[in-house]
């Protein structure tokens, strides 16, 4: 049988009381926030003063502002644990997850700026339309496994072969890497370049030990891997610490080199295959 939570004299349950006690003991301060307000790309920074408590992240502060000062503030969020990738924004000019950015890590004497991502069309306040990414994903060749290794329709693979692509599976699709990539952000090559997120996705498929599809020609042509000039900004902002440039993009670039820019290597491969026969 369910029992009612224990309450204290003020009618609070034990959890809320403990939380209130903890908050009272924690360090309080008033911080200034400049939040981008507006619709469809037009808008301005609006400054808010907000009481914050030790341990708060930027998303907590934005929620407090939404609850107490700006009820119509649009912000996308979900898990508050850095795993859903919903609360991507630009904090003090750098793409970050609001739920994973502690206020204690930001300069206390200056306003915290919070803007929507710049590489995607602005909807309202801190919300952008990231649907372009989902359309891009559909254009990458899907996983095509080889014929099953066993009569029961299952495959066998070695852990050491799958380790390399395991890293790419950590991606939470927050699109911060897409946002910081200057090819999309500044040059708006959305028609010609799939961006770091989908190069990681392509790498996860292309390097998979069971996969048989050849994505290299598409990577060079339709997916525009040559646009990447290896600034490593994507790696820098990845909240999952995926080594995007070194482990995904550059190995894919090297596969493009194998196919299109290394005639000697290609001859050696053809010759060694013949020799084996």
């Amino acid at each position: 049988m369910a029992t009612a939570p224990a309450t204290d004299v003020k009618g609070q349950d034990a959890y809320t009381a403990a939380q209130a006690q903890q908050d009272a003991a924690a360090h309080h301060a008033t911080r200034s926030f400049k939040i981008w307000r507006g619709e469809a790309g037009k808008g301005e920074f609006v400054e808010y003063k907000q009481d914050v408590v030790e341990g708060m992240v930027v998303l907590d502060a934005v929620h407090e502002i939404q609850a107490t000062q700006a009820n119509d503030l649009a912000v996308r969020w979900n898990c508050k644990a850095g795993k859903c990738g919903s609360c991507s924004a630009e904090i003090n000019g750098m793409p970050k997850l609001m739920c994973m950015t502690r206020l204690a890590d930001l300069e206390a004497d200056k306003p915290v700026t919070v803007e929507p991502m710049r590489a995607f069309p602005h909807v309202r306040d801190l919300v952008t339309d990231v649907s372009w990414n989902y359309r891009v994903k559909t254009q990458i060749q899907k996983f095509q496994p080889r014929a099953p290794d066993a009569p029961d329709g299952t495959w066998r693979m070695q852990q050491e072969d799958i380790d390399r692509v395991q890293e790419f599976r950590k991606c939470i699709e927050c699109f911060l890497c897409q946002d910081v990539c200057h090819v999309l952000r500044d040059h708006h090559k959305h028609e010609e370049f799939i961006g770091p997120r989908f190069l990681v996705y392509a790498a996860a498929l292309e390097m998979h030990p069971l996969d048989t599809a050849d994505r290299v020609p598409e990577l060079r042509q339709a997916h525009g891997i040559g646009y990447c000039n290896i600034t490593k900004c994507c790696t820098k902002v990845c909240p999952e610490h995926i080594t995007i440039t070194d482990n995904a993009i550059i190995p894919l670039k090297e596969r493009v080199v194998d196919e299109f820019f290394d005639p000697i290597g290609k001859l050696v491969k053809i010759y060694s295959r013949r020799k084996r026969k």
Partner: protein, 266 residues
């Protein structure tokens, strides 16, 4: 990708909300890399003070043509253009130079520092047009692996120079074993260059990275793992080896000019 055009706003050059010193890293890269290019060019044109005792400056190694007493093929080659001043380093330096120019790490660094493309992450750029490495001239960066093969060859020559730097003239026409500070400088240079070259992204790919089932090739797997291990520090090796090779040349030059004294340890 076919979809509706995106109504995005262009940002101006240097436009950013970043508050950190985002300009510092490109400035440091510009200064060190620019300084190295100026020094290496100056040193290459000197055609003097590149040897001291058993030491040979890495900028001039291997000495294919040059001093007839020590060069592999004698003095200045007949095909050398008359208008261009001759120096053994001018034949050598382009190869390691192009290895570094096309290096994946340096590309990202100098695109930022010298071309502001972008000046730094999330900072507005000076120009709207962008070709990337899809078309000429930057598509040429794709031949990096050929320069890597040459760089591997150079490691052998430089290691041989360290061996030669262990044998000093005894004044009676013979050689005896010894170790000078210069020996250690040249040895450190080879170690740093080896760590930089063996951690190269292209080498990592050609030794095993191109395979999806490395477990079937244990030797390649070991080579790939070793290269990956060094690759994690590629940026650091790149800078340390750059400074190391410049210092090795400077050391030999200063000793040869009599400005620095080469201390003998053994």
């Amino acid at each position: 990708m076919s979809h509706a055009p995106l109504p995005l706003i262009h940002r101006g050059f240097g436009e950013t909300q970043r508050r950190d010193a985002w300009w510092l890293q490109p400035l440091v890269v510009f200064t060190i890399l620019g300084g190295f290019v100026v020094y290496a060019t100056w040193a290459a044109f000197q055609n003097a003070h590149y040897t001291f005792g058993p030491y040979l400056s890495p900028f001039y190694s291997p000495e294919l043509w040059g001093d007839p007493r020590t060069a592999w093929f004698g003095a200045k080659p007949g095909w050398w253009p008359g208008l261009l001043p001759f120096s053994p380093a001018l034949i050598i330096l382009p190869f390691p130079g192009l290895f570094r120019v096309t290096c994946y790490y340096y590309r990202g660094a100098y695109y930022k520092a010298f071309w502001a493309d972008p000046p730094s992450c999330a900072v507005g750029e000076p120009r709207k047009s962008y070709w990337g490495e899809r078309t000429f001239p930057l598509i040429v960066q794709n031949i990096h692996r050929y320069f890597m093969y040459v760089a591997l060859l150079f490691l052998i020559f430089l290691a041989h120079d360290v061996w030669k730097a262990l044998w000093f003239d005894d004044g009676a026409g013979g050689k005896h074993f010894g170790i000078g500070v210069g020996t250690l400088v040249l040895a450190l240079n080879v170690v740093l260059l080896t760590c930089y070259t063996l951690g190269c992204h292209s080498l990592r790919h050609v030794v095993g990275g191109f395979l999806d089932q490395l477990s079937r090739h244990p030797v390649r797997k070991k080579a790939y793992d070793c290269s990956s291990c060094l690759n994690r520090w590629h940026m650091k090796w790149a800078w340390m080896s750059l400074i190391g090779v410049a210092f090795a040349d400077l050391y030999v030059r200063m000793c040869s000019m009599g400005i620095w004294h080469d201390w003998r340890i053994l």
